[in-house]
């Protein structure tokens, strides 16, 4: 077999008829709307979370400043958690320019994925720290009203729960989140190596 045989066979492939330009452009608009809706949804859920917690903060009328700080930290934690979802990170980090040549595109894509990986891990760490700190501060006011024994019990249980989160839950969640990205990075590295 020579080049011309290959070329002749190659060109014999029956191609699928192309979709009409109008249909294609409709898809462009659809994808655009989808991105916009995702951002909008994230924004709405963030706003609702804040309002909800502010309302709670308003009605419980705390006497200590620690309670308010605690609530603020918990709000911040929830915001971070929402932002840690990969799809949202994807929206926030600019995608690699696809008109670059492959040798420039692949390293850029790898860099972006690594950034997502790092950001995801950091966000999760911050989430757990903020949540734990917020909870412990929030409890001060209410445990002060309890007897010493009950107060100790309340703090003991909460601390145990936080430790369970930190030692067991957090690594699992991070690992699960990272698995997809780590694999993507590994595959992209493999492609990059094929170029040299």
């Amino acid at each position: 077999m020579n080049t011309n045989d290959f070329r002749e066979m190659w060109n014999k492939q029956i191609t699928t008829p192309q979709p009409s330009q109008e249909d294609l452009l409709k898809t462009v608009i659809k994808l655009k709307n989808k991105n916009r809706n995702q951002l909008l949804l994230a924004f709405v859920s963030l706003s609702l979370t804040i309002i909800f917690i502010l309302v709670i903060g308003y009605y419980i009328e705390p006497t200590l400043i620690t309670t308010r700080i605690g609530i603020a930290l918990i709000i911040a934690a929830i915001l971070f958690y929402l932002f840690s979802s990969n799809s949202l990170l994807r929206l926030l980090i600019k995608d690699a320019d696809q008109s670059l040549d492959v040798s420039s595109y692949l390293p850029l894509l790898i860099k972006i994925r690594e950034k997502q990986l790092l950001l995801g891990t950091r966000v999760m760490t911050l989430y757990f720290i903020l949540l734990a700190a917020g909870l412990l501060l929030y409890m001060i006011e209410y445990t002060r009203r309890m007897t010493f024994g009950f107060g100790l019990l309340a703090y003991g249980i909460t601390t145990l729960w936080i430790l369970f989160n930190w030692i067991y839950l957090k690594p699992r969640i991070v690992k699960k989140q990272q698995a997809k990205l780590s694999e993507a990075i590994k595959n992209l590295e493999n492609l990059k190596n094929q170029l040299s």
């Binding site: 070329r7 060109n11 699928t16 008829p17 040798s103 595109y105 894509l109 094929q194």
Partner: protein
């Protein structure tokens, strides 16, 4: 006044795109087909490619030929497929006509595409662009590697393919 210029630019872009779309659809489809050897999937990648082309067209600056630019987008879309094991749900893309169409390629054609899709990813792109009669300097431009590297690799890939065909005939 601004509105007018804006509109005529959009019209120009629409017409430019129309021409590009007509000229390159088959080529892009075949390249995607060489990459994945699956008609539906290839069609999806081809459509994704042209969606990007439409989005990026205002940024195209004639620094490279339109072909090099477009095939870079197609190549990058192909390479990104390994990130998406889950493919787009079909209904997100227009056109289901292809499903009704008969796809009676002759056996050698099917074999060629099958063998190409079994090559390492970058080699699939190199040989597909070569079979599309793209000059080796432009293939080098799409991939960002040297022309001599392209030449050597094309030679090796063709040898590999010939061996595969020869072994098949002997069986």
């Amino acid at each position: 006044m601004f509105l007018l210029t804006g509109k005529s630019n959009l019209l120009h872009m629409y017409m430019d795109f129309e021409e590009i779309y007509k000229t390159y659809w088959n080529k892009v489809f075949r390249i995607c087909m060489g990459y994945v050897n699956d008609r539906d999937w290839a069609q999806d990648i081809a459509q994704e490619t042209f969606i990007t082309v439409w989005q990026q067209l205002p940024k195209f600056r004639n620094e490279s030929s339109i072909g090099t630019w477009l095939f870079r987008i197609a190549a990058n879309h192909c390479l990104r497929q390994l990130e998406k094991k889950k493919r787009y749900p079909r209904e997100e893309f227009p056109l289901q006509i292809a499903d009704q169409q008969e796809t009676s390629n002759d056996e050698n054609v099917n074999l060629l595409y099958k063998y190409i899709s079994e090559l390492p990813e970058i080699d699939r792109l190199i040989i597909s662009l070569e079979l599309e009669e793209m000059p080796q300097s432009e293939i080098a431009g799409v991939l960002g590697i040297t022309e001599s590297n392209v030449r050597v690799r094309i030679h090796r890939i063709k040898e590999k393919l010939s061996i595969k065909f020869a072994t098949y005939e002997h069986e």
